[in-house]
Amino acid sequence: MRDFSYFRAASTEEASRATLDAGAMLLAGGTTLLDLAKCGVTEPDTLVDITHLAGLGDMTVDANGATIGALAKMGEVADHPGVKAAFPAVAQSLSLAASAQLRNMATIGGNLLQRTRCSYFREPGVFPACNKRNPGSGCSAIGGVTRNHAVLGTSRACIAVNPGDLAVALVAFDAYVEMGRRRVAIEDFYMLPGETPDWETVLKKGEIITGIAIPASPAAKNSTYLKVRDRQSYEFAAASAAVGIEFEADGKTVRDIRVALGGVATRPWRARAVEQSLIGTVLNVEAVEKASRLSVEGAVSHGGNRYKIELAPRVVARAILTMGGLA
């Protein structure tokens, strides 16, 4: 039996200090952590429980935007009237994620740090080669079953998808991840796998996500999260898109547009090329479809995931057309 110790932190500082120990891990909702512990992927020596920390679950939404504490539950945020009004795509990304039971347990902080669903990553006893788990050991997925692997942002070392939905919406609307006093734009929070796929975010040892901040914007207010998958519910995205559009006073010309993709990339993927090509234009189906194809520029297939290169632009296009009243 693997013994581990359990420590309930009394303050963020205490939690932070406790996680400086090698082998210590923060425990929030536990839905990623315990799952991976059962798979044998994470083997913490100490669990530092932060779920009792006061104030970390607070949410406020005002004219400037939303601040959401790291311990807020996925379900709470999804149902929050302020979030739903000012950031529909954010609320939808959460309500379309996982299952009701998981959303009631899982926290926003933990959500941002969920790990890939790569099957090879999740079976260490069978597939020793996994650079993300065991740097330098190789990648078992390449050459294997890659239906759910990334086509964007991959490297020779790793092609695993970042499967989260929320982060996609956050990337679209320039949210920040707050780690106490340190604040990082969410796009910079996630790293490409490169040669070091084990290193997924800029979070440092001992750092705790305290919350996220999402600046208000007209595009965020007029937004949607479209998630496409074989199963109607309770499945990760085959491809997803967060899209928000602000129109000029004429109600037609695009002043600002945000596009991000999920389910297809090694990190939440902002599609700036799509945005650039549509800003200042009046949307029409053909132009949107053409622009959406820019979302997969540079995409690489590994066989089983080839369909994602076809699917992702269609999802982006549909989301844009929906927000533009053309779908």
């Binding site: 039996m1 006893g125 079953v145 239906r147 109607q232 519910s233 699917l311």
Partner: protein, 763 residues
């Protein structure tokens, strides 16, 4: 035997046979009161955890168990080095090689995920952790990973499964309209909500096994033979089962390991197969491929069907998933030929999964029929009716009952089929393409004998006792109804005891035959009990009926009285007390006289050798169904959602419509999963199923399931069973997947011939 007046199903308001009775075990299950095999509170228990192979073919060179043995709490590590002292047990038909040793933890590895070691420790956590420390070294050989492996070959022809009449090849060649296509189904898994496992305990030479079991007597025999002990020394206890679907009808290698470990260690052992391990601890449905050629006239009269199918099996044993099982049965065709091949690959031996054979077979045939309907521009409903088989062409025998025409016409009516426009891509709902499709299904009536005991107790209550099982299909409930009807008592007054091999013998809960078999036995035993009670009432010197001059009595609503009501009327309890009896006990079975000795019992309860097929007599007996499905397809994304299902069934007389409908719906839901989601993804480099968990092997959620309307069009079939029912449990899944594939074609114009129909196949 009393002839029971048959009622039309579902119209009985009294809760007797035919009534809409809720499941008697429902409350126990939903409130957590039902104790499952792995929850048995057994003292002094230790835990076994399996170690499965990580290669698909080769041999175990060495197992380094040093670290595992040294881990805290570990009692023992079993490896291929250990001779567990077991013997090979009989197959399903009772055939058994003499004194052949059985090594459930073999040295030869024949598939990835094969159990090769087991760790036993004081706690589950200790055993789980220690299992990770077991280091196995292998000598690998090149595996054959599936039907498409270049080294798989075309397989071995299974002669027994070749069916033919007329000259199919010639008739096909001469036909005006010819279609030909290949259809495929992947490996599919049972994934019951209760994963497999067992708790075992030895007391001297007596073995008690708490294990979910679709067949307590058959499994008891297996254990007895493994351990070379008398059959009566083994008791399988399985009152509740969290779903089986065919996967819980036999002892598996891990069962033997757990029982052997318990014997070696002198402690009760619990072995819980983890969800990932269940994907290779026993077999799911084998992958299949089949080519179908149909020849027809221009106006849609079938001339020939030529069918060539294959399924994979393991390198250890043959388990054909018969792709031709439904092919000869559904339509009138003057020339037919089907053949099936078995292709050994490095997989766990496949097993029976809801409607084995019939299911993939119907996927091929019912897809092909609609392909023909588009080729000739004829409505697929009309095409099916035009080729309606008025008798069984394969056996040449008349059907016992076949309400498939009614199923098709009633189903069509309720579905609104006449509003369909035939052209593919011609129906829309906003952005979504709408498609309608039909799939017919069939499942044979299998007959077997069973035995039951009835007790009328002093307080007037009734007990029904049998070793038959209830895995959720409703055995408890329909047996209470059966006994209540015969004995004239309210069903609440009947207590049913099942799921224990020490109780009277019963056939396997498989092949949709248990209900027919066991209601027959209960009916017979209850009738005997009633006759005995009435006899006592008329003749016992203390009975108030003795002097009434009546020559028979009636029992109704729990009271016994003289016909036409002149004279005394007593509750059963009052009568029992008057005649001074605390019980009346009758045990009866449905074996024929003259073949009812101990050997016959053993053969009937513990093997499948005495099971009669659908054409054993003068008739051909089957259940039938027709599914009507509507799908909506978002063509940009390739996503398919089933938006409506209407299915009409002929399963003969329905003993309890509520339960039967639930079985049908369950089958249809599984069919939706099979059509759209379910597939074991095999990494061909390793021959391993990599989506071996419920997060990655997807089955439908509530959100995937629309309203499903099920209709019974059956009529009592007393050739099929004593009470007139035909099989209910399996036919529901048969025909669902082709109905969906047909609807997808109608919606999109794209024909998907390999399941599941996932989005990448449509974009």
């Amino acid at each position: 035997m009393t002839i029971m007046e048959t009622r039309k199903h579902g119209d009985a308001a009294d809760g007797m046979v035919g009534g809409r009775f809720s499941r008697l075990d429902g409350k126990l299950k939903t409130t957590g009161g039902a104790t499952y095999a792995l929850e048995q509170p057994v003292k002094n228990l230790v835990h076994a955890v399996l170690v499965q192979s990580t290669i698909a073919a080769g041999r175990v060179v060495a197992v380094d168990a040093g670290k595992a043995k040294a881990a805290p709490g570990v009692l023992s590590v079993f490896t291929p080095e250990d001779d567990l002292g077991l013997l090979v047990a009989s197959d399903w038909f009772g055939n058994r090689p003499d004194n052949q040793p059985f090594h459930p933890l073999p040295r030869e590895v024949s598939f990835n995920g094969q159990a090769i070691a087991a760790v036993v420790a004081e706690t589950l956590e200790q055993a789980t952790e220690a299992a990770k420390l077991v280091k196995v070294s292998y000598e690998e050989t090149q595996p054959v990973t599936g039907l498409d492996d270049p080294n798989a070959g075309e397989g071995r022809l299974v002669d027994m499964l070749s069916v033919g009449w007329g000259d199919a090849e010639a008739a096909y060649a001469a036909a005006d309209i010819r279609i030909e296509a290949e259809y495929r189904t992947p490996r599919e898994y049972h994934v019951p909500i209760e994963p497999h496992g067992l708790t075992v305990k030895w007391e001297g030479d007596f073995l008690t096994v708490w294990e979910p079991s679709q067949w307590t007597h058959g499994m008891a025999r297996t254990y007895a033979e493994w351990f070379n002990i008398p059959a009566d020394n083994v008791r399988i206890v399985s009152p509740f089962i969290g779903g089986g679907f065919g996967s819980k009808a036999m002892g598996y290698t891990y069962s033997a390991v757990a029982a052997a470990a318990a014997r070696k260690l002198g402690r009760p052992v619990k072995l819980a197969v983890t969800r990932p391990q269940t994907f290779t601890a026993y077999g799911g449905r084998a992958a299949t491929r089949q080519t179908i050629r149909i020849g027809a006239t221009k106006d849609g009269v079938l001339q020939a069907i030529v069918h060539r199918g294959a399924s994979e099996t393991s390198v250890l044993a043959d388990f054909p998933e018969q792709t031709g099982a439904a092919t000869p049965l559904l339509y009138a065709v003057p020339n037919l030929s089907t053949q099936h091949r078995l292709v050994p690959v490095n997989t766990v031996t496949p097993g029976a999964l809801r409607a084995p054979g019939k299911n993939p077979s119907a996927f091929g045939l019912e897809s092909a029929i609609e392909e023909l309907s588009y080729a000739i521009g004829m409505d697929p409903l009309e095409l099916r009716l035009r080729n309606y088989a008025d008798h069984d062409y394969q056996s040449g025998k008349p059907w016992s009952t076949r309400q498939l025409r009614e199923a098709l016409t009633v189903g069509a009516e309720v579905f609104g089929w006449s509003k369909r426009s035939h052209e593919p891509r011609s129906m829309r709902d906003g952005r979504q393409l709408v498609g309608w499709g039909i799939g017919c299904g069939t499942f044979p009536v299998l007959k077997a004998a069973s035995e039951a005991l009835i007790r009328i107790l002093g307080d007037g209550s009734v007990e029904v006792v049998s070793g038959a099982i209830d895995m959720g299909q409703g055995t408890y409930t329909i047996l209470a109804q059966t006994a209540a009807e015969v004995l004239g008592v309210p069903a609440e007054q009947v207590d049913v005891k099942l799921g224990d091999s020490s109780l009277p013998g019963a056939t396997v809960a498989g092949g949709s035959m248990l209900a027919g078999a066991i209601t027959g036995a209960v009916h017979k035993a209850a009738t005997a009990a009633r006759d005995e009670l009435i006899g006592l009432a008329l003749n016992d010197s203390n009975s108030p009926f003795r002097d009434t001059g009546a020559n028979t009595l009636v029992i109704a609503d729990g009271r016994i009285s003289v016909p036409r009501g002149e004279g005394p009327s007593l509750t059963l309890a009052e009568l029992m007390s008057a005649i001074g009896r605390d019980r009346i006990e009758t045990q009866r079975n449905t074996l024929p006289e003259g073949a009812n000795g101990p050997e016959d019992h053993k053969r009937s309860w513990t093997t499948m050798a005495n099971i009669e097929g659908p054409t054993a007599g003068d008739l051909s007996m089957h259940s039938w169904c027709a599914h009507f499905v509507e799908v909506k397809v978002d063509e940009d994304f390739g996503t398919v959602r089933v938006s409506r299902v209407v299915s009409a069934f002929d399963c003969g007389r329905i003993y309890n419509p509520k339960l039967a409908e639930s079985q049908w719906r369950g089958g249809i839901i599984m069919g939706i999963g099979q059509a759209l989601l379910e597939e074991g993804l095999i990494d061909e480099r390793f021959g391993r199923v990599i989506n071996n968990n419920m997060g990655d092997y997807l089955v439908p959620t509530n959100a995937d399931i629309p309203h499903i309307q099920v209709i019974s069009v059956g009529i009592p079939d007393h050739d099929a069973s004593v009470l007139g029912g035909k099989g209910v449990g399996e036919v529901g899944i048969v025909g669902v997947a082709p109905a969906i594939a047909n609807a997808v074609f109608h919606a999109t114009g794209k024909r998907v011939r390999d399941l599941p129909i996932t989005l990448e196949k449509l974009i």
